[in-house]
Symmetry: D2
Subunit: 343 residues, 4 copies
């Protein structure tokens, strides 16, 4: 049975694995202090059209989040995030384990707005009885598949700058945000609209690896000390570098994200055609249709996917995730099957 459970069900894009195999015995120094890593850093700088950044590679998203946040904050400082944020619901309290509170903002679409950030700041910054709000964490796309465009990011970043806060953009699924026809946000915009972000590899064709890009000079010094201290510095950093080089030396990275988006669109349009609505409107590779429970159960006989939340007694929102590796035929068959059983 095909699984729409997530975008890390397959190992990695063959081009990446072949590259590893081809270079298996080429020696390189450890911990990122060597040419393979420098090459990947250069390619990323070109892609984002910005030389004045520091780039570090870590093996996964929770690591990227906890290292970036704990390296950026002093002990009395806190994070602001959506209540649906990955650091809130999916990381076992990883941020708190480094000593920092997360102020959460309620949200129906996974996105937060500048005025909400400002409100949290106003309520909590001027008394030593509350941890000081210092960093805003968002994901683009969000956990609900929604996307911030360039202007929205700029507005949050401007708000952060005004308040003396940092903006950190989790880009675990960044490729899907950068490849939508009607959403204006590109690689080269990113350094201009946040203080630090990461380019996700694990969910977009890489075997593992996230590339953290630090734009704000304040956040650069000693960052690699933090990576090492939190266990995030791999001796073979060069292998993560190799993957990003392979993904970014041409259009592969964006092509894979576009592929996932396009297949999600097939699902979305088919599901609409079959007469169903959605828990949230997502243009990216996660779609959240609401099915009557008996329809959901029938589809579960043929496909694997995650139930998201009960909408009422009789209907449930589910999550379907497409990826760089999802075949188009499977999505078409899913829709056909849905239409068939819905008649």
């Amino acid at each position: 049975m095909f699984s729409f459970k997530n975008d890390y069900s397959e190992i990695a894009h063959p081009r990446i694995l072949q590259k590893m195999l081809d270079t298996a015995y080429i020696q390189a120094d450890g911990y990122g202090l060597e040419e393979f890593t420098y090459e990947a850093q250069d390619i990323i700088k070109k892609k984002i059209n910005e030389e004045n950044v520091d780039i570090h590679f870590v093996s996964g998203g929770t690591q990227a989040n906890l290292i970036t946040i704990s390296a950026s904050l002093r002990a009395h400082e806190a994070v602001v995030a959506a209540e649906s944020a990955h650091i809130v619901v999916d990381e076992t309290g990883a941020i708190e384990a480094t000593g920092h509170r997360i102020y959460t903002i309620p949200t129906s679409d996974g996105k937060i707005r500048p005025e909400e950030v400002k409100s949290v700041f106003e309520e909590n910054h001027d008394t030593n009885f509350a941890p000081y709000p210092k960093l805003v964490y968002i994901s683009n796309p969000t956990e609900l598949g929604t996307v911030y465009d360039k202007n929205e990011l700029k507005a949050i970043h401007d708000c952060c700058k005004e308040l003396g806060m940092y903006l950190f953009v989790d880009g675990a699924r960044l490729a899907c945000a950068l490849t939508l026809d009607d959403v204006d946000i590109k690689f080269e915009d990113l350094p201009k609209v946040c203080d630090v972000f990461y380019i996700g590899g694990t969910k977009n064709g890489a075997l593992y690896g996230e590339a953290i890009v630090i734009c704000n000079d304040n956040l650069k010094p000693f960052f690699s000390w933090s990576i090492k201290q939190r266990g995030g510095l791999l001796s073979k950093t060069r292998v993560m570098a190799l993957q990003f080089t392979e993904l970014l030396r041409d259009e592969l990275y964006l092509d894979l994200g576009r592929h996932a988006n396009e297949l999600a669109k097939i699902l979305t349009e088919g599901i609409k055609e079959a007469g169903y609505s959605f828990f949230v409107d997502s243009p990216t590779n996660q779609v959240f249709p609401v099915f009557p429970n008996e329809i959901m159960d029938k589809m579960l006989e043929k496909y694997r996917f995650q139930t998201w939340t009960a909408v009422d007694d009789k209907t449930t929102a589910i999550r379907l995730v497409t990826s760089w590796a999802t075949p188009k035929e499977v999505c078409c068959e899913f829709v056909e099957e849905l239409i068939r059983i819905s008649k």
Copy 2:
């Protein structure tokens, strides 16, 4: 120039990379809850001849150490380790960053003895002015390439049990300890002589990955919560599992360790023949010859290696590391060159 700087200079054994390539598109659930992971766990259980263990995979040694230690200790408890231990000298205070002190024991060969553990315990366990010594951390082989045999481990473990302490064996280079002709320690001994250990992949042919094996029932509950909280739980845990399956389904893992040991022996014997002594006697894949500085400089023109420590004004101990990927010819040439320039 060939590098003897470490045992992670190459990417991974081709058999492992080929296996990834062959199975790139096979779907599996995330976070280790799937068949690839279960298979690797079963193979490890067979290798160590013990069913009653919990097995977890993390991506690197510092992670394995900080997760295992912080998951095992309450806030007021401390670690005991050699002053040359990896957690003391190579991990940027990772253990302290989780809140725990390390009591260090001076050592000339990287090993610690039961009476030294007992002494630290006696001095620090009965007053609430000192953190309570609760876990002994050792590496086998040690950072200096020396090895604990079965009886030595058992003696430390018995000491720990008597004192109510845990014994944790870092096995980053475990394969090299298990494949010496004259050192009696085997896979199946490990669960009997410690509370938790790990089987190192990164330094012995794997791309990345360490397999933590928990033997003591006290340490098992909620361990995976700690892995996730510290950023160590990879979504594609299945890829680490696949690597251990490939390394352990036959004798590959031990063969690779034996290869590294044998090449180290070529170096050791050649260096002796050339008339030089050693900073420490190491039977495994790290050797520490002491060279006159001009000899060291000449060898550095042809080979890359790490200077370890100045012995006096005129001589320096260096570190040569062999690995699963080191070619025999290179070691022979190294020796020949050394003999040639030493005449």
Copy 3:
């Protein structure tokens, strides 16, 4: 101008200060290992009618909270509390700074219910993606002056026991909960309805000091290690002991709490008589009347108190706090003045 801002505006009850002066030069060993401390512990055990408890003294409430919680939890475990709880709104992220998340429950009266605890537990205990809910923190009285009676506490405690959780009762203002005519909760009930609680001194006549009483055997071992490690172990612990001895050797502690409650009642009844309502119905020493802003401003010309929250554009909830030291006349005058200006 008289201040109703809090219950720690005065130094301490003269009986306590006189006792210190009388015994200033009597020597005692440090850190609680001496007769003055043992005597206070014995008196507390008699008051609560339970011998099988451990008793520790720390200097303030935030310390009592962060030490008790961090000593009780493993790294992956979390706290459940009302969103208005002292640990949430008044302690600068002290709990998170020890590594633990607080799950918050919305509440209008400061109290939480067993079914709410259960709901948080059910949603978060069975996945390693969420920190494990292990300890429920409540205050009695709450931050809003409301009170849990014996049955309510027992219901939460039973719920905790069923779920394998601990119940911790912050008793910073405990005297005010124990001295209400129509609320059934007494000193001797406490060990039966929670796992650990503290008897607040600072806000009820003591100079400083809170007595932590550990009822659950699981939480007793090594507690004093945690106190010392967090900086909570005072060398002159004997002085905190002396204060509790003086407060508890007769009825002084309860008399002071009753006094505060009675004066609060004078305020409450007078404010009702003057025609005003309350933000929350509190029977204890904190009352929260809602005043038109111009009335509030006029009262602020004659009295000091805290504005709590704006209710709407024209009215504001304020907080009036009475204490062991508040004179009855001042409360009567406050009411008279209010009635006068409200006509």
Copy 4:
């Protein structure tokens, strides 16, 4: 039996307690934001002849240490201290519990030298494998009663400034360092020779309380957030302020320190006269004579004191501590008794 075990055996100087009693019912706002606290801060600024400092009050030495250190360091930074330092041997790993390693320097007299600091720095500052040495912690007097004079402090401070490190001086027994005839260090020197220090109250006549004085502007922002977060901010901060006002408004604070030193001198000279040597030469209120074990045992029949360390099979170093409250007669009698039994 009179106790020479420590300098916190008595409660507090009667002048302090009387002042509390006299002002028991005077209201003041909480948390140091009121006149009593401002007055104490002003008096301290005058004493040290420096306006440009921030002053905070906490209740004990371990708190002062852990708060100052954790507030001053980023996560990857470490402390340098003598291996006999209070933070190393007497605080249950409090510094590590906030996430920071302590690099220790061996010492026979409790003091460390600039070249030793420099050596630790050189070995550990330029690799991301070691926590970055950022703050030097010393006590004056040290744990062994020895004293740094002005020039010695200046030399360490100059070294720290050169290396970009901070110097923190623990002044738990500061009064004893400031009142020696032949040691040149005065209140007004302190802001010039360190970045932050504290004036100890608990061991010199106060009931409790240490006054942290921050000289370096870098360390001032948000310090009170850290105090609150670590549980160190007492609601009745005004009571600590009152004590420092009373101690420092005239010469009481220094008089009490001088008294302790003078009585220690009586002990030292008497013990020398009786023919005994010392474990370390201390000019302040802790003296460390080495007694034959049978002499030690006989003295223990009449006096209480701490055994420090066994010197050999037959002799033991003990610790005698005098204080502001020690009567001169007791010291004279101690010496007489010693001489008597030594004949």
